[in-house]
């Protein structure tokens, strides 16, 4: 919990630091600024996440030290033992035995320490990844709908799944190999300096070349990995779009075109991948080449020193083997560096998502709307989705508790938008929406939405049982309540006919149900909660009218004393409304009752009569 709060605070601080950009709301500039900060800040943030497990990291470090020390010690023991095997008849069996016993212990300890270390590293990595993934998902729930509506879902999914996965791989490699690598380097360095400082110095001078080469390549690679990652995102979103709507693709025989589009992106991906893979894989040979230079220079300098008698042949051979041991981790580290680059590119994309501006925070004194009496007012509301396209202008509405409001008008006149504003899925640009006389921005979103029951045109069900779906708004509902709601929504009979009744599992996107059945379930979902205000957006468009009439009756009972907003095209729905709002181009052009509006002979009458135009 504490970490989460810290992270939230960080996000808020970051926003506070660039208030100008945030105020302008210009996503572009903000993103650019963020990108500049990204590279170094990404590392810092990853470290902050790892910091939560610092004790484990410490244990892992200690184990790494133990492992490395033991690994370096074992060859010395072997060497000592070999020194006791001199010639036939000159073998110190007792000495060898005691050394070998010691070696057995050392090896056992090394094995155990190594396993434990690996295990702990796994733990740390996956925990960190889990934390980041959870954080990203948590953020998803507080992102404004404006973001979700305007970003391809495939791209967001790719960030939370594929990118984080990539990141975990890099991080794990980093942990397992970076630690031991660094400690091995330090350990061997120590041994070398003890034997001969001059040659050790030669080694130290040459090896940085390896690092320079590695970091140069890594820099190049990072760009490619980022591009690869982006192209993968593009590909994922195409796949998401096309697979989700495969029926349309097939109906239009569009398979070939889609395939071509896919192959085009895939081809670009091939280019980036090839470069990313190649660049990252040349690090190893390059650093290995530098290593052989180190080996050669140690050989030459050491041999020349031996010629002058500064060094024994035995010492030279120890030196050579240590030089090898010393440079090997550099290989690994350079491999790890590229993997880490890759991971950072992915992490950056995840953090980009986490950094998306969340919903406007609720004021500290936000009121908790208790059961609303149901008066709703829209006061000089201006709103549009895009700055350049005006939509709702100077919208005024005054709804008394318990009234039934039908919103009608040609398509695209702003009916769904009104709902977005009522539910506060979007905030008004200016003006105010009031419930019970209070500005909705002064109350908690939770309490506001709890007062609305909503059935949308788009029927979304979650994968799970039918029971879970009906009880979505009230998870602790009893069996009877669920069944009663289903009966009221006329869903009971078809549910009973399902293979497992209420326990039938609905597949992803409700694939095994018809559109109408899905709609009935959505209605049952609302029936169960019975909030004081209702929003029905063409809620019954896929239900046959006979069933609808029954539902209407149930609704009518339900709506008694409840304010309800109905976006509907059906005459039957509209006729019974207390007030009809006739909308056109974001304005209310007429409002009144069915009879009054017809008598007025205006736009509504025109709409109504056109239903019977000869066809």
């Amino acid at each position: 919990m504490a970490e989460k709060r810290k992270e939230n605070a960080n996000v808020r601080n970051e926003q506070a630091r660039k208030p100008a950009a945030a105020e302008a709301g210009a996503a572009g500039t903000k993103k650019q600024a963020a990108r500049l900060l990204q590279h170094s800040s990404t590392v810092k943030r990853v470290l902050a996440y790892i910091g939560n497990y610092k004790w484990w990291v410490l244990v892992s470090l200690i184990l790494a030290a133990v492992t490395v020390a033991a690994t370096l010690y074992a060859p010395i023991l072997v060497g000592n033992a070999v020194d006791l095997i001199i010639a036939p008849g000159n073998v110190d069996f007792a000495g060898i035995r005691s050394i070998l016993y010691r070696m057995a212990v050392v090896v056992a300890v090394t094995g155990a320490a190594q396993w434990l270390m690996n295990h702990i590293n796994n733990r740390i990595t996956y925990q960190v990844v889990k934390d980041i993934r959870t954080r990203a998902f948590d953020h998803l729930e507080v992102l404004p709908l404006r973001y979700i509506d305007s970003h391809p879902s495939g791209d967001v999914i790719s960030r939370i799944i594929a990118d984080i996965d990539q990141f975990s791989e890099g991080l794990l490699m980093g942990f397992t190999q970076l630690f031991t690598g660094v400690i091995t380097i330090l350990g061997t360095l120590g041994f070398m300096f003890v034997i001969d400082p001059v040659i050790a110095a030669v080694v130290v001078v040459v090896t940085p070349v390896s690092l320079v080469v590695a970091s140069y390549i890594a820099k190049k690679t990072y760009v490619m990995f980022k591009k690869q990652s982006e192209t993968r995102g593009e590909l994922t979103s195409l796949v998401d779009e096309m697979l989700g709507n495969q029926k349309v693709v097939q109906a239009f025989g569009h398979e070939a075109e889609v395939q071509a589009q896919f192959e085009e992106i895939n081809e670009r991906l091939r280019g980036y991948s090839l470069r990313a893979t190649f660049f990252s894989s040349i690090t190893n040979p390059c650093t290995r080449f530098v290593n052989s230079l180190v080996y050669a220079s140690v050989g030459i300098v050491g041999a020349l020193a031996a010629v002058r008698g500064y060094l024994s042949v035995g010492q030279l051979s120890i030196f050579l083997s240590y030089a090898n041991q010393y440079t090997k981790p550099f290989n690994e580290i350079s491999g790890v560096v590229t993997e880490l680059q890759n991971a950072l590119a992915s992490a950056a994309r995840v953090f980009e998502l986490i950094d998306e501006e969340p919903l406007t925070p609720e004021p500290a004194d936000a009121a908790d709307l208790q059961r609303a009496d149901g008066s709703v007012a829209m006061d000089h509301v201006y709103f549009s989705y895009r700055k350049d396209v005006k939509l709702i202008e100077n919208f005024n509405l005054d709804v008394k508790p318990g009234q039934r409001i039908a919103i009608v008008g040609p398509t695209g006149c702003g009916k769904s938008t009104v709902i977005n504003l009522l539910m506060r899925f979007y905030d008004v640009d200016s003006g105010a929406v009031r419930v019970d006389g209070h500005d909705v921005r002064q109350m908690t979103r939770r309490s506001l939405r709890a007062n609305y029951g909503m059935v949308l045109q788009e029927t979304w069900l979650k994968s799970g049982t039918i029971r879970e779906n009906i009880a979505y708004g009230k998870p602790d509902a009893t069996e009877e309540e669920v069944i009663r709601a289903a009966k009221e929504a006329h869903a009971h009979s078809f549910i009973r006919r399902m293979p497992q009744g209420y326990d039938t599992v609905i597949s992803e996107d409700g694939g095994n149900l018809s559109q109408g059945q899905k709609q009935l379930l959505c209605i049952a979902r609302v029936m169960l909660c019975l909030p004081p205000m209702l929003i029905l957006d063409e809620a019954t468009s896929s239900i046959d009218t006979r069933t609808e009439i029954r539902i209407q009756k149930a609704f009518a009972r339900m709506m008694e004393g409840r304010t309800s907003f109905i976006v509907a095209h059906r005459l039957s729905t509209i006729r019974e409304a207390d007030m009809i709002l006739v909308m056109r181009d974001g304005h209310i052009v007429e409002q009144g009752k069915h009879g009054e509006l017809l008598a007025r002979g205006g736009f509504y009458a025109q709409l109504y009569n056109s239903q019977f135009a000869s066809t």
């Binding site: 060859p75 001199i86 799944i161 078809f494 006979r546 095209h569």
Partner: protein, 588 residues
């Protein structure tokens, strides 16, 4: 699974050269100690600085050669692996496209997405690694054993025991961890599903204030994922310590028996050192091999998941690939005009796994140019019925004929070309408006498109946008309202001027004025088109030439509005639930 290997065929040369070059590089590595021995034995012994520098030069040269060989190898393997991945991805996408809706429903969209993205990526990096290392590491392992035999056959027996023991450990870990990685991947799918669901259902989740519960659920799924990852990690983590212990135990035995052999004068001290060195060389290579095997086991798990998709066969099989001359088919039955455009004969349909048939004994005929209204309650089978015409599903019993020929006899492409479908769910694709309109007819002119937009009542709103046909459309058409999307999907189907037009409850988001104008325009502009109007609204279908009334999968009535209103109980109920008696008769 091995079927996937065929995608490597195009890169045969690269796939063979990469490991060979890597092996050559390894051979250079093995030469280095020999050169060093020369320096010690000759250079230092004879105090010959020139020789030392010369041999040092040889070391540098070997390094350079190694660099050149390995760079080439890396390039070849990267090229082969990336090419392989690209090929598999293209083919998999093509294969998925060939599946029918039924299979996609069964497999699930989310998992298909993971398979085509991260699974293929994993296999791709596996291939890359294998190409680079699969010859090199065993080469050194067995090379060291061979060298040990040249030193002393008896001592080499220790190698003969050790190496199989190591293989058992390495392959044992592989066998145990592979199914576990599969489990991890499955759990990752679950996490993906939850993520996807929350994106698509953001409105509902928020409306019901279920964010905290969704977060809890995600936490649970995520937790399960982490736990299975840690578990599989625990198993894999055994590999390195186990091999380390085996090798060092072998070294201890080697030193101990070596001591006895030296004591007996069989081998020398130096040879013991050499044997120990070979053993440690094996260890170094094994560490690499172990990492390689972990990656391979992950890749194999992923490869299996990919193959599983390849193994799913599309249920719609094209029997005949040659186009059918419709006129000829019509002539055989006499006057072409007398052949029904669409005909259902004793058709039954049952969804996969469903207990009851969704449609039962449906028979009717629709003539060219007729408008057929299809009406009925929710779940009565209206959509299913029209979905059988373009062969999205196959009839379980009976036949569906178009132009007198069984739809199963047509090449699928030819059949669907005749038909324009407007699905219930109005979806547009990312791109421009024009691109979307050309879906059914890639070479449609702007005029043809505007004509279709006119009929679909979408002209006015398209004109109101400045960009016209260049209007950018976001994924799913999210930047348009439901009604606008619906009209555009209707226009999209009209652009190709289909012989049969299917409107599957496609006007539900339209207000009645637009709906009426739309029907009027369709009627006036599509003289020869056979139009199927699926709807809940009596007003939408009341003027159809023939109305099919469905109730619970049965065709309970067919005829005109007037006939049915008198004779069909179900139809009368539907009408009266929507209109007053006076309205029903208004134009009767």
């Amino acid at each position: 699974m091995w079927k996937l290997l065929k995608y490597l065929k195009k890169y045969k040369l690269e796939s063979i050269l990469a490991p060979l070059l890597k092996m050559t590089e390894a051979a250079f590595d093995l030469l280095v100690p020999l050169v060093m021995a020369q320096i010690i034995d000759v250079g230092i012994h004879n105090r010959d600085s020139g020789q030392i520098l010369k041999m040092g030069g040889v070391l540098v040269l070997l390094g350079l050669l190694g660099l050149a060989f390995s760079l080439t190898a890396q390039y070849f393997s990267a090229k082969a692996a990336v090419g392989f991945g690209t090929g598999v991805r293209n083919e998999l996408f093509r294969h998925i496209n060939s599946l029918s809706y039924r299979e996609i429903d069964t497999i699930g969209t989310s998992t298909l997405i993971t398979r085509i993205t991260s699974d293929i990526n994993q296999v791709q990096s596996g291939v890359n690694l294998v190409l680079r290392l699969f010859l090199r590491s065993p080469f050194i392992v067995f090379g060291a054993m061979v060298m040990a035999f040249t030193v002393n056959a008896r001592a080499a027996m220790i190698f003969v025991v050790t190496i199989p023991l190591l293989s058992v450990v390495v392959f044992g870990v592989l066998l145990v961890s592979m199914p576990l990685y599969k489990k991890v991947q499955r759990q990752l799918d679950r996490v993906l599903l939850t993520t996807r669901e929350n994106l698509l259902g953001a409105r509902v989740v928020r409306a019901f204030n279920r964010q905290p519960d969704e977060i809890t659920k995600f936490d649970e799924e995520n937790d399960l994922l982490v736990r299975s990852q840690i578990f599989v990690g625990k198993v894999s983590a055994l590999m390195n310590p186990a091999t380390y212990i085996i090798i060092n135990a072998a070294t201890i035995v080697l030193v101990w028996t070596g001591a006895w052999q030296v004591d007996e004068g069989v081998i020398t001290q130096g040879e013991v050192v050499a044997l120990v060195n070979y053993m440690s060389q094996i260890l170094v290579e094994l560490v690499k091999l172990a990492n390689l095997i972990i990656t391979i086991s992950k890749s194999l798990a992923c490869a299996n998941r990919i193959s599983a998709v390849f193994d799913v066969e599309g249920s719609i099989v094209e029997k005949n690939h040659d186009r059918i001359g419709t006129k000829a088919a019509g002539a055989a039955a006499g006057d072409a005009a007398a052949v029904p455009k669409v005909e259902f004969a004793g058709m039954d349909f049952c969804y996969a796994g469903a207990k009851e048939a969704s449609l039962n004994g449906i028979s009717f005929a629709a003539m060219s140019g007729q408008t057929i209204g299809v009406i009925g309650g929710t779940g009565s089978g209206k959509s299913t019925l029209v979905n059988l015409i373009p062969r999205f599903y196959d009839a379980t019993e009976g036949t569906v004929r178009v132009d007198g020929t069984d739809v199963k006899e047509y090449p699928v492409g030819q059949l669907r070309e005749k038909i324009g479908v407007v699905p219930q769910k109005a979806v547009l694709f990312k791109g421009t408006l024009g691109e979307n309109m050309r879906w059914g007819k890639p070479d449609a002119t702007d005029e043809e498109i505007y004509e279709a937009l006119d009929i679909a009542q979408a002209r006015e709103f398209v004109d109101s946008k400045e960009q016209g046909l260049d209007l950018p459309i976001e994924q799913g058409g999210r930047n348009l309202s439901g009604g606008q999307r619906q009209r555009l999907t209707i226009a999209r189907a009209l652009v190709r001027r289909p012989e049969i037009l299917i409107l599957d409850d496609s006007a539900s988001a339209l207000d009645f004025a637009t709906d009426a104008a739309l029907r009027k325009a369709i009627r006036e502009n599509t003289k020869n088109m056979t139009v199927f109007l699926v709807s809940q609204r009596a007003t939408t279908i009341r003027n159809a030439d023939r109305i099919l009334v469905l109730d619970d999968g049965q065709l309970v009535g067919q005829g005109t509005h007037e006939e049915l209103f008198e004779t069909c109980e179900v139809y009368r109920e539907i009408c009266l639930s929507q209109l007053s008696e006076k309205e029903v008769r208004a134009h009767g």
